[in-house]
């Protein structure tokens, strides 16, 4: 029982990352009908930006310019990095995707791959191949709840991830901009004709997705404090799987699918030999998609992919 509960907590933490990254994928894919394959690398870049901001703030604090407690540094790091990464997202949209908006979908898809490679190698040139240690903003405190171990980091990660997902969901459901986004997701061709500014919506979609990716990147740095330039690749693929599994046009679907993915991975490794983890986990997901081709929460009337 303790093993089960412990893995439940492990899965909640692990699923949080998939969930938050999957949201960014899902938004771009739902609203603009394109696969932003660079999203995993935006997550990586967000993590590195977070590293830079946190290191800078800690240096300022240590030098006595402004005394900041660690929790405040974390909050500021999250906010500043999310904003900076949002700008990066908008920049990528402007130079990488907007010129190709009417090009074949495959061109836009490989644009994402290329931007991803540029971000990885750019980082490699800038900082070198050695791994970077993310600053310990949250000193881990472990609580022993009768054989089940929970850390303050785990709680923080799950709470922040869920709050971000809920906040975005409310934004999409309740604001005019959110309504415009939903409309775009509903019909990509007609809605712009009704006067919805497609360029602004596209920029905003990228900004929100990238901001979330940055938040995931920083939380990732807190939990797994070894950063390397290629850490976004596999993570990006898996989050992409979660986005599709969640179903097009559903923020909550992507969130839930992210957690489901985390649960499947953790519990498969619990029951089966860990060597078979991804083999079994992704076979299960393939099976789910065979029976629910629109994803778990996708609406059946949504426009099919035009790839």
């Amino acid at each position: 029982m303790t093993v089960f509960l412990q893995n439940l907590i492990n899965a909640l933490q692990w699923g949080s990352f998939y969930a938050v990254i999957a949201i960014g994928y899902s938004m771009v894919y739902s609203i603009l009908m394109l696969f932003n394959f660079a999203h995993g690398d935006i997550f990586m870049t967000g993590s590195y930006i977070g590293f830079g901001v946190a290191t800078g703030l800690m240096a300022l604090s240590a030098a006595g310019v402004i005394a900041l407690p660690n929790w405040l540094i974390l909050v500021l790091t999250l906010l500043i990095s999310m904003v900076l990464t949002s700008f990066l997202g908008m920049f990528i949209e402007r130079v990488g995707y907007r010129p190709l908006r009417d090009a074949p979908r495959a061109s836009a898809a490989i644009t994402g791959l290329m931007i991803g490679i540029i971000l990885e190698t750019g980082n490699l040139i800038l900082l070198g191949a050695q791994r970077i240690k993310f600053p310990a903003l949250v000193e881990p405190v472990t609580y022993d709840l009768g054989g089940v171990f929970v850390t303050n980091q785990k709680v923080l990660i799950v709470v922040v991830s869920l709050s971000l997902a809920m906040a975005l969901h409310q934004f999409i459901r309740r604001t005019r901009w959110g309504m415009a986004m939903r409309a775009m997701a509903f019909d990509y061709v007609v809605v712009p004709l009704m006067g919805v500014p497609i360029n602004k919506i596209a920029a905003m979609t990228f900004a929100l997705g990238s901001g979330l990716a940055a938040a995931a990147g920083i939380l990732f740095g807190v939990a797994y404090p070894v950063l390397d330039p290629y850490m976004g690749i596999v993570f990006g693929w898996k989050a992409f799987v979660a986005a599709i599994l969640g179903g097009r046009g559903s923020i909550l679907g992507a969130t839930l699918a992210g957690f489901i993915l985390g649960f499947i991975e953790i519990f498969v490794a619990m029951v089966f030999p860990s060597t078979l983890r991804d083999f079994i986990a992704y076979s299960i997901i393939l099976l789910i998609l065979v029976f629910r081709p629109y994803g778990l929460f996708g609406e059946p009337y949504s426009v099919r992919l035009r790839l």
């Binding site: 492990n10 791994r131 310990a136 054989g147 070894v226 596999v234 860990s274």
Partner: protein
């Protein structure tokens, strides 16, 4: 026709050179150094050269090596292999055919040592590498030796340590199934541990794949398996994550590692979390005693920095050659005969007191039987010599 002519002239020329060299009475003994002085790993070449020069100074201060009651002065012939496989083969050929060396030390990296070993074996010249751990370097090559232990030897060394130090009987292993080195080490360790402690004594044998960062599920399994310690033969970028996650999941038992832990980056990435854990190493500078400490102090005062494992292993490699020359019995002056005698003496080496451990060569093998050094990461985050483990 023209080609045949050119080739035969060249052959003739080299023949003349070889006979000329043989005719010239060898008063001084030449030892070749085939080192990575330029190229990707210049530090390796530098350490090789420095250690060899320090050894040479000692020997010649004592008047040379005494063989059969007569003292012979020693010279080094140093060749740069540019850290390239082809250049290493060329350097070996030149040392053998032009410089008439009696034996060669190096190359150090397997990429260079494997092809150079081929050349030395073909020319029947003893070669010893300090650092190369690739099995192919010495495989089926009676003239090629090494001063370091092979990767698979680390498993038995660790199981002896865990057994002797803690009386443990139940082990857990966590390794990367997609990477050769950790996978090989994990398998060797498991085999050895189960041989000594009975089948099923590795109570958790868990894996992940390269680039994974979350090991919580595997570690939860390990923690609940009743294992008394964890062996993880991973690299410095994964070890900190494994150690930190294990601690956060309530693991309070020892964690042991392989020589892949030995990087300053490990301590940088791990912070205090890795302190108190152990790994196998060829050599450790901090906490060294006796001859090892003496070597480190001398090297440091001479060259300005603490010698690394390459320097220490080169010291032992060239020391082995020196002892083999001494034990060769007589120096005839016919370099081919002398090489044969040195090879024989080298292969018969028993309990050579090296600074990286006591070295013996088993019959018919160039891979030494030696004790491994167990290194502890101390409270200051330094790699400190803890004890030796001798299978």
């Amino acid at each position: 026709m023209k080609k045949v002519f050119v080739v035969s002239v060249l052959l003739l020329a080299s023949l003349v050179m070889v006979t000329a060299a043989v005719a010239q009475k060898a008063v001084t003994l030449k030892i070749g150094i085939n080192a990575e002085i330029t190229g990707d790993i210049p530090k390796v070449g530098e350490a090789t050269k420095f250690a060899a020069q320090m050894w040479l100074e000692d020997v010649n201060k004592a008047g040379g090596i005494e063989v059969g009651g007569k003292k012979y002065k020693v010279e080094l012939a140093i060749e740069d292999n540019e850290s390239k496989a082809e250049s290493a083969a060329k350097a070996a050929t030149k040392l053998i055919t032009v410089d008439d060396v009696i034996a060669i030390v190096g190359p150090q990296a397997s990429k260079q040592a494997v092809p150079a070993g081929e050349v030395c074996n073909n020319y029947k010249t003893p070669m010893i590498t300090g650092w190369s751990t690739n099995p192919n370097t010495t495989k089926d090559r009676p003239y090629v030796f090494r001063a370091c232990f092979l990767d698979d030897f680390q498993g038995p060394a660790l199981s002896i340590f865990a057994k002797g130090e803690y009386k443990f009987t139940k082990a857990a292993v966590l390794y990367d199934v997609a990477s050769d080195y950790p996978k090989g080490l994990a398998e060797f360790f498991k085999k050895d541990w189960e041989k000594k402690n009975g089948p099923g004594s590795v109570v958790a044998y868990e894996s992940f794949t390269t680039k994974d960062t979350d090991f919580s599920s595997q570690l939860t399994k390990i923690i609940n398996s009743g294992a008394e310690f964890l062996f993880t033969p991973q690299y410095y970028n994964e070890v900190p994550l494994i150690v930190q996650q294990a601690k956060q999941l309530g693991w309070k038992k020892p964690i042991l590692g392989s020589d892949s832990w030995a990087s300053d980056e490990l301590v940088k990435l791990c912070g205090k979390d890795c302190n108190g854990f152990f790994f196998v190493s060829h050599y450790a500078s901090a906490g060294a005693k006796g001859a090892t400490k003496e070597f480190i102090d001398r090297y440091k005062s001479k060259f300005g920095y603490v010698p690394d494992d390459v320097a220490a292993l080169t010291w032992d490699a060239i020391g082995l050659i020196g002892q083999a020359i001494k034990n060769a019995g007589t120096i005839t002056g016919d370099v081919k005969k002398d090489r044969e005698a040195v090879r024989k003496a080298l292969a018969n080496t028993k309990n050579f007191p090296g600074i990286t451990g006591t070295i013996s060569f088993p019959p018919g093998s160039g891979d030494p039987i030696k004790c491994a050094n167990i290194v502890k990461i101390n409270d200051k985050g330094e790699f400190e010599f803890y004890k030796t483990a001798c299978p």
